[in-house]
């Protein structure tokens, strides 16, 4: 049973390692997401009606989770993101996979994505 967990983590760690490098100069206070135990930075750029995300964390498992989030939401329209129910998180078994403090971090990341999208509408 627990090897299954560890497999999941191996996968997230792998994703985290392969996440595109995040420019150091973007690691600013206003890009820091509150509510995570590790530090998470998120940067959003707008091209036309689409949003593109880059992010980083000093913890590798969190980076893996970010990579999943960005994979799903980067390049979509602000309206799509703002109206999304983020149920893919549950489909991936991510929420249960995380401790409550962790789930908080994930909730903060999702909240930031949603807010960023809403600000574009």
């Amino acid at each position: 049973m627990y090897d299954e967990w560890l497999d999941k983590y191996e996968y997230l760690i792998d994703l985290g390692r392969n996440l595109d490098a995040f420019p150091e100069e973007l690691k600013t206070e206003d890009r820091l997401i509150k509510g995570c135990q590790s530090r998470v930075w998120l940067d959003a750029t707008v091209e036309g009606d689409r949003l593109y995300f880059r992010a980083d964390s000093d913890a590798i498992i969190t980076k893996g989770i970010i990579s999943l989030l960005i994979g799903v939401y980067s390049g979509r329209t602000a309206r799509e993101i703002a109206e999304d129910d983020f149920s893919f998180v549950d489909k991936l078994g991510l929420r249960e996979n995380l401790s409550p403090t962790r789930a908080n971090g994930l909730a903060s990341m999702i909240e930031t994505l949603r807010r960023t999208a809403q600000n574009q509408l």
Binding site: Y2, L6, E10, Q37, I61
Partner: protein, 409 residues
Amino acid sequence: MTQIENIRQEFPELGEQVYGKALVYLDNAATSQRPLSVIRKWTEMSEKYNANLHRAVHRIADLATSAYESTRDAVQKYLNAEFREEIIFTSGATASLNLVAFSFGEAFVREGDEIIVGEAEHHSNIVPWQLLCERKKAILKVLPIDDSGHLRVDLLPGLLTPKTKLVCVAHISNVLGLLNPVKEIVNICHSNNCAVLVDGAQGIVHERVDVRDLGCDFYAFSGHKVYAAPGTGVLYGRRALLEQMPPYMGGGEMIGTVRWSGSTWAPLPQKFEAGTQNIAGTPTLRPALEMAEALRNEAVEAETNAIKELILNKLQSDPRIRLYGVPDAPEEKIPLFAFSVEHVHHEDLALILDKMGIAVRSGQMCAEPLMDRYGVTGMLRVSFAPYNTVQEAEYFIASLDRAIKMLEG
């Protein structure tokens, strides 16, 4: 069965499984597990003796009050306090510390006075003093530690001035796990007419505390870290000081008389116990301290020493690992180890160890100034209790290596 196995039978939570693995609980410094004797007392208080204290003449109130007040006697005896009214029941260490910060502050601290706190203190032993200093325009000074985590007691005489009213230090830091030289600190402070408060949240668990031997003026601790119910706590205070201090909170049985023209206060200890007290919880302090006493024996000590040796060897010999709170001799270190691993985030390690069944703590551990001092955003901490075994320590070490391997790639 070995003695440790027998002891473990007394703590139901230790038999739990997480993710299909036996729970290895190494977060004891955050809260300890509770023995059956405590759980039974807690239940018994709710099932048989549930009435408000001190207030009514009926039978159940009488029984509840005597359970509560006899607990005070037990705590007094355990701490070797001179008077029973020197034992104030609170909701925990944080409440005890805030009580002193307010009431001692009101009585003794004026503008320009000074309070000194240790550099490795828990937020609960920092923030109340910051609030006090803000309120009174007093000055907060810091007694530093050296890189190994030892308090620089040698600097204390230089920091003390005639305006220093109180020095606040932990008996044992919840991050460094090093025993502070409280008696030496008390000697220095008392010869400067300055009082000493000891945050005993960790000390009460690992040391046989005798407040008269320590000589401190205040000693604060929480019940939940020493096997008792959560929401219980103790403040020991020297009677002569407590008598001069005004109440912290008003209401309930802390009054003498209440008139529109003004109120008077009940004598100690009720003066500091406003409102309905923790009727079911506080009496668990007695079986809890009995357990603490019972766990002070040769078999447990041998097991703890073996655990300390194992973990210290591992953490000090592994070049990837940095240990915080490096003892000069093993006796000054409790089985509590905070460390970081090069290039590996503490939170990643904690998440993976969790999936291996091991409960550890990661993060700032309520000691941000200490994190800043060491230049880290957090640490990983394992803290053992007398019911932990050498096998658990070995399993932790093997699991840590495995987790590091996963994370290093």
